[in-house]
């Protein structure tokens, strides 16, 4: 078995004049719960898109469980589950149909897909809404159903871009339990987030990315270096204003 679930080598992407991701290399060990943090517009989504086959990089490569996703996309994607941020779903399908669709697209057989779909709907707390069209789901429900589509083929590596955005606390806790179990049984998870507290509690490893550049990476304890992750993050990224902010924003 490959010891690195995801190996990013010198990935770079430029949009016009703007360098979105600048020569980033990152190693995500198997069985780790890896957090990817960075301010808005840091290049998290761009990097994950390149690592998951959605966006062709200008240079560099990404190895998913040892397989180069740009050289052998079909093989690499078999062991990879992705929750992409900012894309639609086929929302004229019902939740149940959508998850089934994702399973069948992966070439799984029908009984397996049926059982797993019901299981996923149950743990996502969506059983009652399985027959509703996804277009009528709330933002949080859509996140959860998308997560289900990413997990149905029991991938070795899950890449989740902003999985907890708009998800209610109870569902978020359920999803965290699922992910923790998944890691405990040998899976690898990468989540991007800007909730530091969540990352510190949940993840074993963390990488900080800012302005398209990798600022720090390693185990959470290594990176935070005795401070809270939030303080350390602000330290690395900078940009905190001084106390003389909005002097007029005083109610009395």
């Amino acid at each position: 078995m490959n010891s690195m679930a995801l190996e990013i080598r010198n990935l770079a992407k430029q949009f016009g004049d703007k360098v979105a991701v600048n020569n980033v290399s990152l190693q995500v060990p198997a069985k780790s719960f890896y957090g990817l943090v960075g301010p808005n517009g840091a290049g998290k989504t761009t990097m994950l898109s390149m690592a998951t086959g959605l966006l062709r990089p200008d240079q560099g490569s990404a190895l998913v469980n040892g397989v180069d996703i740009w050289a052998e996309p079909h093989t690499a994607k078999r062991t990879l589950g992705v929750l992409a941020d900012g894309v639609r779903q086929f929302d004229r399908l019902t939740g149940r149909q959508l998850v089934t669709y994702a399973g069948l697209l992966r070439g799984m057989d029908r009984e397996e897909v049926t059982t797993r779909t019901e299981d996923l709907l149950r743990v996502m707390d969506l059983s009652a809404d399985g027959d509703k069209l996804v277009v009528d789901y709330s933002a949080g429900m859509t996140k959860k159903i998308s997560l289900a589509t990413a997990m149905i083929h029991s991938p070795k590596l899950l890449v989740l871009d902003e999985p907890f955005e708009a998800v209610d606390p109870v569902s978020a806790a359920n999803i965290r339990d699922i992910l923790n179990d998944y890691v405990a049984f040998g899976g690898t998870v990468i989540v991007s987030s800007h909730v530091m507290d969540l990352v510190q509690r949940m993840c074993s490893h963390v990488a900080v990315i800012d302005g398209g550049v990798l600022k720090a990476s390693g185990t959470v304890d290594e990176v935070r270096d005795g401070m809270s992750l939030e303080d350390r993050f602000v330290d690395l990224v900078g940009g905190r204003g001084t106390s003389e902010g909005l002097s007029w924003l005083r109610t009395s």
Partner: protein, 521 residues
Amino acid sequence: MVAYILKLKLRLLANGFKRSPWQLAGVIIGGLYALGMVVMLSLAMWFSADNLEARGWVSVLVGSVIVLGWAVIPPMITGVDLTLEPQRFVHFGIEAKTLARGLILAGFISVPAFLTMLAVLGFSTIWRLDPLALIVGLLCAIGTWVMAILLCQYLTIMATALRAKRRFRELSFGVLFLLLISLGPIITTIATNVESIFDLLIPATKVLAFTPLGAFAAVPNDFATGQFAALGLHLALALVYLAGLYLLLTRATGKATVTPPAAQRASSAKGLGFFKITPATPSGAVAARALTYWFKDPRYALSVIMVPMLPIIFYFASGTTGNYSMMLLLGPLIGILMGFSISADVSYDNTAFALHVLTGVTGKDDRLGRVLACFALVIVPLILAAVLPASLTGQPWRIPGDLGMSLGAFLIALGVASIASARYTYAVPLPGDNPMKTPPGNGARVALTQLATFGIMGVLLIPTLVPYIFGWVTQSMLAGYITVAVGLITGSIMLFLGIRIGGKTMDARQPELMQAVLVNR
């Protein structure tokens, strides 16, 4: 405050153009086309100026058509640019009256509104022989213009509440679409009875002159012919209508700012639907998904409605000439159009296409699934359309030829479309959007791609066309059988190649396709 809202609208307009050069180019081409129409029609009005009897009712008719057009087309069919809908200003605490005034004025800033203004002014040249009447005509033209845009704004606000309900939106477009395409036959029927139409129109304009549609447009004629009592009445009515409309609009805007958006009733579907029927393979799954969309997505429903509508339109159209041989072309036409309809499939998926990229479904399975869905849907109506006209008109010798041509056209169109949709994406209405609303600035490129696609289909159809036409001319059933053989063989080969090449193209270009659909959202 009003000035700020107007500036905001201008800025939005300008930024819309800046977004992409293609869009700007499209707007310019569309604008030039519309401008050309305006100039042509204005010239027509200019040269009708000496027809003293007609100019009165022509003026009312034209004015009414413009106001009616604004009242119907934007609110009901194409949808209005709602970047400045009242709800968006809820959080700013602007006084309702001020806000209403600003929004109403902002409604006058748009390309169509500008073109309409040019049009009404140009149409006033029908009064050019009488300088005073011309001045009255120009002033009333502005009145007509204001009336048109206020009416449009009012109906838009009224319609927005209803449109918020998805069901209604999808239904209303269907009904309107049916009306629109049956407009052609209705017009041809009317056109054949032109004489009696004028007898009908002239009294109608007399009535229209008392309605908001034609009141302003009636004034110049009253002035020119010296009927001052009628002038007073028409003018007073026009002003009352305008004031009333303004009042209603202010009220509706105010109300819209305090009304929360309507809640939607979630719709559902029991079980797995098509996913249960199709084979449990990736291509089967794609087919099931595509079939679901053919029925559930109004953008596809447009094409589905075409199938039963085309025969009806053709029937009416040939009814006017009494020559029904046009009906014999139904099969090939449905074959080409329906086969071609999957060429925008990836564009319709929009970013949901990410699921296909992420699951690593092969291009071949993707293409095959979409073709299967279209095939399953169309094949029976296609065969009926190919066989029925010939058998009903008692020309059984035609059946094989028609059948071969229809099937050949359908298969070849499917093949070519499979390659086209793996290579080109267009800006299409977004999922859930009004299907009639084509994103602006699309025209030139889409026209070019589609022209090329149709051209290629035409060339590939030549081998089938030769025996088909030969059979048609010589009334030979044998040539018909040859058409079947050639159509099926070339069609199958093209479809096979289309899926293969399209699949390869897609495999190579998945991320690029993904980026292309990301732009349009």
